[in-house]
Structure formats: structure tokens, C-alpha cells
């Protein structure tokens, strides 16, 4: 019973997270400024990472871990590059 509850809750959590990702996509497309899009990408990444955690719970497999850790540890690199690009017109000076 509680396991079934868990299973459906996880799916619900996933749907919530996916909706969250959807909001980010809306922001990505709508803008209006480039920084909004970059922020949306960052949010998208974070939500995706949390989604990976739920996938891990749902499948019982710990194999999601590397991907999630990569997002946590290195996902900021591309956003950092975007923001430097927006500010300086250059990523590396």
C-alpha cells in the first residue's frame, strides 16, 4: 500500500519537476533579455538534476549519481560562460 503510494508519489514528483522544467523553457523562449534565458537554463539544469534523483529512487538504481553530480559540480560552467559573455562580450579574457 505504502509502496504503491510511494510509486505514484514519485511519478507525481516527477511531473511537478517536469512542469518546473517547462516553466524554465517558457522563460528560455520568452526572454525577454538574454540573462533571463541564461537564468532559465540554470534553473532547467537544477530541476533536471533533481529529476535524476527521482529517477534514481524510482528505478532503485544508483547509476544516476554521476550525471547528477556532474550537473551539480560542472553545470554552472556553461551558465558562467553565458554570463561572462553577456557582460564582457568575451568568455575568456
Amino acid at each position: 500500500m505504502s509502496q504503491a503510494f510511494l510509486a505514484s508519489t514519485i511519478v507525481a514528483a516527477q511531473v511537478l519537476l517536469l512542469l518546473a522544467m517547462g516553466f524554465s523553457i517558457v522563460r528560455m523562449m520568452r526572454g525577454p533579455r538574454a540573462q533571463d534565458r541564461a537564468l532559465a537554463l540554470d534553473t532547467f539544469y537544477v530541476n533536471a538534476m533533481i529529476l535524476l534523483l527521482t529517477v534514481g529512487i524510482r528505478t532503485g538504481s544508483p547509476m544516476y549519481f554521476e550525471a547528477a553530480l556532474i550537473i551539480a559540480l560542472l553545470g554552472f560552467a556553461s551558465t558562467m560562460a553565458v554570463s561572462k559573455f553577456l557582460m564582457r562580450g568575451e568568455v575568456i579574457e
Partner: protein, 113 residues
């Protein structure tokens, strides 16, 4: 699963192909990226879709029913690396071309939109 992934592959391919046929170099590189996503998923899908069954052995040997098909995954990995390399190259070539031709049209001539 299969239907969703197939449709996803279709959408990625369609978007990518449409961009491939555009006249601006940046559109082409984005198109190539999208198409390569689609192709990677395609290769991956040839092994059949499984959830919760990893290609990492728990015992010393496994059978295919218990694990996912590792071979397509290995192929996709190779394809990802090669795709990364060629995207980088194409990027630099399009930058160089833009520098030499003075515009970002794929044919190095401006005028057509």
C-alpha cells in the same frame, strides 16, 4: 516508451534537418547538434529500451534479460565523442569563414536572407 522516444527522435531530426537547410552557418551548426542528438538516441534505441536495468554487472556474469544491451551504449559513446569533435571543428571553420568572407552565410556571400 518506444513510441515517445521514436517521436522524440523524429522531432529532433525534423528540427535539425530544417536548420541544416538554412543559409546561416550558426543555424547549420545548431542543426547538426540536434541531428546528432537524434542519431545518438536512434543508435541507443536499437538495443531496446529498459528502465532500471543497468549495464553494470552485479554478479560476475550476466545475461541480457537482466541488463541493458551495452553495445549500443558503447557505440553511442563513440558517436558522442566524434560528434563533439566535429562540432568543434565546424564551429571553428565557420568562424574562420566568417572572418575571411566577412559574413556568416554558408556560401560566404551575403544577400540572400
Amino acid at each position: 516508451m518506444e513510441l515517445i522516444l521514436a517521436m522524440a527522435i523524429g522531432v529532433l531530426t525534423a528540427s535539425g534537418v530544417w536548420l541544416l537547410l538554412r543559409p546561416r552557418t550558426f543555424q547549420v551548426i545548431i542543426g547538426l547538434t540536434l541531428v546528432s542528438y537524434a542519431v545518438n538516441l536512434f543508435i541507443f534505441s536499437t538495443g531496446g529500451l529498459r528502465t532500471g536495468a543497468d549495464p553494470v554487472l552485479r554478479e560476475i556474469a550476466g545475461n541480457i534479460a537482466q541488463y541493458t544491451d551495452p553495445l549500443p551504449q558503447a557505440l553511442v559513446l563513440t558517436a558522442i565523442v566524434i560528434g563533439f569533435a566535429t562540432t568543434a571543428l565546424f564551429l571553428v571553420v565557420l568562424l574562420t569563414s566568417r572572418g575571411l568572407a566577412g559574413n556568416d552565410h554558408v556560401d560566404g556571400k551575403d544577400g540572400t536572407p
